[in-house]
């Protein structure tokens, strides 16, 4: 039926004595919008870091579209087609909004060193394309009016949109969103829901979202994986997850259940 885009196969990661990721396995099919949830410290961001090669896997493997990307360096993973946003935002604050996106966009419009140093050859046309594509993306997320603003001066919500725009300009086939709704109020979360579902359908992406805001995850993710202490404790659709005793225990604690 669908092709498997991402497959984690018995992945383990240790930080010294801490078993941060325990025997993690799950699969994402093409075009899925999935959620990765779990209490703080469960290892969710570590999973993202393992997929993108920021950390090395201790055992197990990670496959992307059938290719084993476990030994890949970060930039190789990105060039393969995976993009990611950050919990704490990692924009280039002193560059303009447009430059931030152009820096990502240029991956697909490469010209060589000689052309860069002399502004001859393909420089003019490719630079034009990069600029154009970047503005289009900014329009897609509603930030085109702020193109020449320094990214660091934007309000928080706009910065989050910029990060997403930047990730999109890499033309990924798998998008990893790390707590995109962090610090947002319920109205903003609703807007974000809309944005995520829009880019999911517009760009035909496979998306994996780490989130704490249950209104986001339960509403837009038909496939949810739940982690605690580095291990998977449940996987399924929102109904299954909401009624799962292990998950209630993880989030609310045993005493509440027994009460």
């Amino acid at each position: 039926m669908n092709e498997t885009v991402l497959k984690l196969d018995h992945v383990n990661k240790y930080f010294g004595g801490v078993h941060a990721v325990q025997d993690m396995s799950f699969t994402l099919e093409k075009g899925e919008l999935a959620g990765l949830i779990g209490p703080n410290g469960a290892g969710k961001t570590t999973i993202f870091n393992l997929i993108t090669g920021v950390y090395d896997v201790d055992s197990g493997s990670i496959l992307f579209e059938g290719t084993d990307i476990t030994p890949y360096k970060t930039y190789e993973v990105v060039r393969k087609g995976i993009a990611r946003t950050f919990q704490n935002l990692r924009l280039f604050p002193r560059s303009t909004v447009l430059e931030n996106v152009m820096t990502a966009c240029q991956q697909h419009y490469q010209y060589n060193f000689f052309e860069a140093a002399t502004h001859m050859g393909r420089w003019k046309s490719l630079e034009g394309s990069i600029r154009e594509q970047s503005m289009t993306l900014l329009e897609r997320v509603g930030l085109e009016a702020l193109a020449e603003q320094a990214a660091g001066t934007l309000p928080y919500g706009h910065q989050r949109r910029l990060e997403i725009a930047r990730a999109l300009s890499l033309q990924p086939r798998l998008l990893l969103l790390d707590e995109p709704a962090a610090g947002m109020n319920p109205d903003e979360v609703q807007d974000l829901n809309g944005l995520i579902t829009k880019i999911h359908s517009d760009f035909g992406l496979t998306i994996l979202v780490i989130e704490h805001h249950m209104e986001l995850v339960m509403e837009i993710c038909p496939h949810i994986v739940c982690m605690n202490f580095g291990a998977k404790i449940a996987e399924g659709d929102p109904d299954h997850i909401q009624n799962h005793p292990e998950i209630l225990k993880a989030y609310l604690g045993e005493e509440v259940l027994e009460a």
Partner: protein
Amino acid sequence: MSGYVEGIIILLFINGIAAMGVSLLTGFTGVFTLGHAGYMAIGAYTAAIMTVRFGIHWLPAIVAGGIIAMVLAYLIGVPTLRLMGDYYAIASIGLGESIRLVLENWQSFTRGARGYPGIDNYTTLTVAGAFFVVMALLMFYLIKSNFGRAFKACRDDYIAASLLGFNTARYRVLSLSISAFYCGVAGALMAGFLTFIQPVMFDLNKSTELTAVVVFGGLGSLSGSLIGTAVITLVTELFRPISQYRMLIYGAVMVIIMVARPEGIMGQHELGPRFIRSLFQKKNGPSKALEGGDGL
């Protein structure tokens, strides 16, 4: 034009080329270096030995000076650029000093600490000017390109940069190699200007001067580095009669700038019509972003 003034201008061109090299590495790629005088030394000695001992024409000698400095930087850079921040700064001091020590001790080839005399005065105003214009143009173009953005990404956040598909290690090495080329050429031109070179001319003080100039002008501004060079070179000349105070003033300037205005003269901006226009407009950047938001 008097010989004295002409000499100052040539010196401005030479120091400017070196400053652009260091600016690329420190200002745009974020690698703080205190050893680039070593690459100037390599360029100077290469050109000196090639022209004096082997009778080669100065043009290929100067280019060779740049290339040999670049190759050495590449070989050293690949392993050492894995280091970040302070570690690389300390390593660069060690490297710069090692180059100077080797030049001082390899007496048979370099004539040691006494210096290398008898170099032909090939660095005329035209030669220096031509090299400067060409190399400045190439550098300005490079900064305003995908490479420039890549270097800045490595500087601002190397993890984010790698997550945008940049092989940050490769860009750092590339930046170092180019900067070494520029310093090598500057050194070679210096040899042809002074007609006499000594290893001590390219010591830690010179390296510090190169970095100070870039910091003073603004990390992330090429025109700033050139303005900084002009100021420092001219001040050095003006203070020649009281040159013992020169270094003292240098050091004080570095401290004062860091305390009062760390972004330097130009900050991150380049000197151009836009910048000059902005000087006459009221600053209303941040407030503009906050008003008219969508509540997001």
